[in-house]
């Protein structure tokens, strides 16, 4: 256990950095609304480019990193942030899983750059990878975007120096709690059974199949689901479905061993 102090006296120093991404997850902080002000009473936003002029160089107690490291600058910021932060949190699926931009794989990405920018275009960027490819990550808050209530509970815990617990149930739990008609039973390739919960079944509750944006549930039975989807939707489509958010995860690599 890393923490042993008894009473909390110092204001917690929070930093939020964004790599390449949509910045939607950071917005969930702003969507805390009144509670954002409450949070600010107890913690300093020491460095938050999107919403503040403060840009302290550190050190930070908790650093949220959103987005996928792609540019050289991204990677430099990430490494610097790691060196001045006690805890690093991967904020959102871009950071935690490599995001949708990883769905074509490293090779696909390298092939794609000239197709979008022209043959002459030179880039120093690297193919998208999750944060954990470059640094150690202490806590994970996946989701595309993250879930506001989960963020709230997460922050509530951090403020009292408690370790936020990772979710250990699939999306189906929350989906059934909301009494949704099951989309898998309706023939759609829903990834709910093998996806880590925490989103309150945001998608199936409005009729959209789960895309797996919270990442693979540890110990989920991906193989069984794959078998079923292969038959119903074809092998290629099934790979596309699993590959939307999970290409960097062991569960995916086990099912689809060759590098894309």
């Amino acid at each position: 256990m890393k923490s042993s102090e008894t009473k909390i006296t110092k204001k917690m120093q929070i930093a939020i950095f964004d790599m390449t991404d949509c910045e939607g997850c950071e917005l969930e902080f702003i969507n805390l609304r009144e509670k954002l002000a409450t949070l600010a009473d107890q913690a300093d936003f020491a460095n938050w480019r999107l919403a503040s002029d403060n840009s302290n160089p550190g050190p930070f107690d908790v650093t949220f990193v959103e987005g996928t490291p792609i540019t050289e600058e991204d990677i430099a910021i990430l490494k610097q942030a790691r060196s001045v932060s006690r805890f690093i949190v991967s904020l959102g699926s871009c950071a935690d899983l490599g995001g949708v931009q990883s769905l074509v794989g490293s090779k696909g990405w390298k092939k794609g750059v000239p197709l979008v920018y022209g043959e002459k275009y030179k880039t120093t960027s690297k193919a998208p990878k999750p944060l954990s490819y470059y640094i150690n990550v202490d806590y994970r808050l996946p989701g595309c975007p993250i879930n506001g209530n989960e963020l709230e509970a997460f922050l509530g815990a951090l403020l009292v120096r408690k370790h936020p617990a990772e979710k250990r149930f699939p999306v189906c739990l929350e989906c059934k709690a909301r009494e949704n008609v099951c989309l898998l039973l309706e023939g759609q390739p829903c990834l709910g059974p093998v996806t880590k919960g925490g989103c309150e079944a945001a998608c199936p509750s409005r009729g959209l199949r789960c895309w797996g944006c919270f990442g693979a549930l540890r110990g989920g039975n991906q193989k069984a689901l794959k078998k079923m989807l292969d038959i119903k939707h074809g092998k290629d489509r099934t790979e596309q479905v699993f590959g939307a958010f999970m290409t960097h995860q062991d569960e995916f690599k086990e099912m689809y061993p060759k590098e894309k």
């Binding site: 969507n31 609304r33 600010a40 160089p57 920018y117 275009y121 975007p145 009729g207």
Partner: protein, 419 residues
């Protein structure tokens, strides 16, 4: 101004931009530093209904605009016409998107410059009533998007052909009540932003927006209109401007006949004020009292505030129409076919285009995206040059600050510009 890798990007804009002023040449450059995500490649080889979901992730501030325009493009390719109920809900959804985005920009990104705080959260202490307004306005937009789209960021319910699920009429009625109640607050927002003292930047430029039969619109545009003589069609948006790739920057830059042009709230209102709803027109004429076009890009802030008023009124009308038509289907049947289609939408920051090609199974074979920020970037730099000319004598730090304020007034979304 670089001290550490942890602080060299411009604060309070969406995405990573770095401002360089070259005193010798009198030129300002906004370097864009955002990784290549290759969205146009990501959707290839996937079925059409993956496109709205994937392209939403281009931007967390305006995902709904991407979702709706992707759907428009696909429906265009398949030849789908949806019913009035669906259109009304989409218009209201798009209104919610713009309210959300404008409220975020105005209060959380722009306002701190003028209210002397390092971030909007401090307003909670210095001006608590204003902080309340800020979160309430943001919440209003969020709620509207959530009610119709299923989630405030990256909505899930809109789909090709309509909606996967729609809220009940009682929910819509409740929403209408909330929208009505918010109008005074929206007017107060106009008042606030009209009261700020903006630098006196004046530089004639070209404004572009989509309109429906010559009228202000956000979702139903059928032509591209400019304050010059130019008129274009949406299908041929590629001819309206050129997109350049610059070395060292991973955004593209849009120009018309070699010069910059502007899209977004100020452009839209400069091209048509007459179609504003009454309260918004009142806000423009009586609260602000500014004649448009004013050719001062800082005024984009006020234009956004006025749009909020207009879009609240608009969404009330659209929700009422959705309730009146609630017997119609929430999703119309359609046939997948080989085709190509274009969608254009007025996103918070200006016109957003998606175009798509599908094969006979609805698999995407080609995709193109042009974002508003790409279109406005050159104009932004031209404005910045003008600022250097005009305020070149100011201390360097102050000049940087002023130009950064200009950049924020544009509300650029670099995240979108590199997709």
């Amino acid at each position: 101004m670089q001290e550490s890798v942890l602080n060299h990007y411009i604060c309070k804009i969406e995405g990573h931009g770095d401002l360089k002023l070259n005193y010798k040449s009198g030129k300002a450059t906004l370097n864009i530093d955002e990784g290549e995500r290759l969205f146009e490649q990501l959707v290839l080889g996937r079925p059409y209904d993956d496109a709205p979901f994937i392209t939403a992730r281009i931007c967390g501030v305006c995902p709904t605009a991407h979702v709706l325009v992707a759907i428009q493009a696909i429906e265009d390719a398949f030849g789908v016409t949806v019913n009035e109920r669906i259109m009304s809900l989409r218009r209201a959804l798009q209104a919610g998107q713009i309210i959300q985005s404008h409220a975020l920009h105005l209060f959380f990104l722009a306002a701190p410059d003028y209210l002397d705080v390092v971030n909007a959260i401090e307003l909670h202490h210095t001006r608590p009533e204003l902080y309340k307004t800020a979160v309430a306005m943001k919440k209003l937009g969020d709620k509207l998007v959530e009610v119709i789209g299923g989630r405030a960021i990256h909505p899930v319910a809109p789909a090709v052909g309509g909606f996967l699920s729609v809220p009940g009429n009682d929910v819509l009625k409740e929403m209408i009540g909330e929208l009505r109640a918010a109008i005074p607050m929206a007017l107060a927002t106009v008042e606030l932003f009209a009261s700020f003292e903006y630098p006196n930047l004046k530089r004639k430029t070209e404004y572009l927006a989509t309109q429906q039969d010559g009228k202000l619109t956000y979702l139903d545009g059928n032509s591209i209109v400019s304050n010059s003589k130019f008129r274009g069609t949406i299908e041929n948006y590629g001819y309206a401007f050129t997109e350049e790739v610059r070395s060292g920057s991973n955004s593209k830059y849009g120009t018309r006949d070699g010069h910059g042009f502007m899209v977004g709230a100020l452009a839209r209102l400069s091209l048509d004020q007459e179609s504003l709803h009454p309260k918004a027109l009142y806000a423009l004429r009586s609260i602000w009292g500014q004649k448009l076009p004013s050719y001062n890009s800082f005024h984009n802030n006020v234009a956004q505030a006025i749009e909020i008023v207009h879009l609240i009124e608009e969404s009330i009308a659209q929700l009422e129409s959705a309730i009146a038509n609630s017997k119609e289907l929430a999703r119309v049947p359609f046939t997948v076919r080989e085709g190509c289609g274009v969608g254009a939408i007025e996103a918070p920051r200006g016109t957003l285009y998606h175009s798509v090609k599908t094969d006979k199974n609805g698999i995407i074979t080609d995709y193109d995206i042009v974002t508003p920020t790409v279109q406005s970037l050159v104009n932004l730099e031209e404005d910045a040059d003008e600022m250097m000319k005009k305020y070149g004598k100011l201390p360097e730090k102050e000049l940087y600050r002023q130009i950064e304020m200009l950049i924020r007034a544009y509300d650029p979304c670099i995240t979108c510009s590199v997709h």
